[in-house]
């Protein structure tokens, strides 16, 4: 059964999308894992990076292909989207001229922003408050219902969440076994960590109560905190530079040493060069520039992937 992980931080610009794509790439290429990526961000950045900008536009707009929006549209029509319609297989780019055969993706859509408001307005009348609570849980289970159908086909499902906690993001959270927080070692990013962990604790509590009140079988399984992955870390002398080290140490002292991944990803232009050519960092040989930095970042990313495998079980 797949382990479902939400990649989330309240703060934007911390490298959630790059980290999500490269985690998937590392799990697939270094550990032969089957990975499903789901892009929940209306900015569609993971979608663009994974399949390429014009390929995304052709699929979504010219060919009216399915995206995550299709899954929610089906919910509004009281239907269930078919996983084979919304999951794109053999489309995520592994290197120049090659694709991952074991990585699937559900693309995002710009209209997810508007869709969230529609989802918030959606109220189904039940015969009593208990039934209405069940409908509210259904509203939170739209993504979960798709994942449940394909859970045996993947080892990991990685959900790239936008930097908010709206209902689409809550859907990701509701379906996840873990949430992992990508962060950069700066003040605002670490504030974002505190904000998101606070929300997640509250959601776990709310969902547990809703589940019990709705009289659903079994009990709500909490989404566990998987840890913080520091990204864009400046190094000097074989470790994080003083300022970054202090922020990482402070975060560890507040959340517990185990809250942080021991491994991190260094700063450098390798990731952005790889993104420019729609490639994961492990394809550093295909880059025309920043190959050395990209190779270094790929080494650090590989260590993060190894640790991810050990922590997220």
């Amino acid at each position: 059964m797949a382990i479902v992980v939400s990649m989330i931080n309240w703060k934007g610009g911390v490298g959630k999308t790059s980290l999500t794509l490269n985690l998937a790439a590392g799990l697939a290429s270094k550990h032969s894992k089957r990975v499903l990526l789901i892009d929940l961000d209306a900015q569609c950045n993971l979608s663009f990076l994974s399949v390429g900008l014009s390929a995304y536009v052709d699929h979504t707009y010219k060919n009216s292909g399915s995206t995550l929006k299709t899954v929610f549209d089906a919910y509004f029509d009281r239907k269930q989207a078919k996983p084979e319609d919304v999951i794109l297989k053999k489309r995520v780019r592994a290197s120049a001229g090659q694709i991952f055969t074991q990585v699937g993706i559900v693309l995002s859509h710009q209209e997810l922003t508007l869709l969230d408001m529609k989802l918030a307005r959606e109220k189904r009348s039940g015969k009593d408050h208990r039934e209405e609570t069940r409908f509210e849980i259904e509203k939170l289970s739209v993504i979960k219902s798709i994942i449940d159908e394909v859970a045996s086909e993947y080892d990991y499902v990685l959900l790239d969440c936008p930097p908010n906690v709206n209902l689409v993001t809550q859907n990701a959270f509701f379906s996840s076994d873990y949430y992992v927080v990508p962060a950069i070692p700066d003040f605002l990013s670490t504030v974002g960590i505190s904000q998101i962990t606070k929300y997640m604790d509250q959601f776990n509590q709310d969902y547990r109560s809703m589940w019990a009140y709705a009289g659903l079988p079994g009990s709500y399984v909490e989404t566990k905190f998987g840890g913080i992955i520091f990204n864009m870390v400046d190094e000097y002398g074989g470790g994080p530079k003083d300022g970054h080290r202090q922020i990482m140490k402070s975060t560890a002292s507040q959340l517990g040493a185990g809250a942080l991944f021991k491994n991190y990803v260094t700063d450098g232009d390798g990731m952005s060069a790889a993104a420019q050519f729609n490639l994961p960092i492990f394809a550093f040989n295909d880059l025309p520039r920043a190959q050395q930095n990209a190779e270094k970042q790929a080494t650090y990313m590989e260590r993060v992937v190894d640790e991810f495998l050990n922590r997220i079980v």
Binding site: G52, L53, S54, A55, V57, D58, T60, Y61, K62, S95, A96, G97, Q98, Q110, E111, Q276, F277, N278, L279, N285, D286, L287, P288, R289, Q291
Partner: protein, 131 residues
């Protein structure tokens, strides 16, 4: 090169080598050998097989088609573009390439270059708010 001419080169080479200390050849010494025997330099050998030129106005042709078509065109067997062709094209487009890039990597770089140059129109011309 005639056989006797070649023998003469070998004699010159032997005389030259005997003057050097009896150690392993390093890359610098190899280069010196090539200079000493210009008739045997690799540059002269490769010049016997001329490079197939890039099609006329290829930049304009590529600019007029979609990124998927660019990729297919540059990789097509019919066109048979070589790494040297693609490196030359990259240079003409103002792109810096690396010797570590293979054919697929060069095609990807050129395709992404054209895609990026059309990004604004791709994004504005398609989507839910398309006029």
């Amino acid at each position: 090169m005639k056989i006797h001419e070649f023998a003469q080169h070998l004699e010159q080479l032997a005389r030259f080598l005997r003057q050097l200390p009896d150690t392993e050849l390093d890359p610098k010494q190899s280069l010196a050998l090539q200079e000493f025997l210009p008739g045997m330099s690799p540059a002269k050998k490769s010049s016997s097989k001329p490079q197939r030129p890039l099609p006329i106005e290829i930049e304009e042709r590529l600019a007029a088609i979609s990124p998927a078509e660019i990729e297919a065109f540059l990789l097509s067997e019919a066109e048979a573009f070589t790494v040297a062709n693609l490196s030359e094209l990259a240079e003409r487009l103002g792109l810096t390439s690396s010797k570590r890039q293979n054919k697929n990597a060069l095609v990807n770089m050129i395709t992404r270059h054209y895609e990026a140059s059309k990004m604004h129109s791709i994004m504005r011309g398609s989507g839910p708010n398309e006029a």
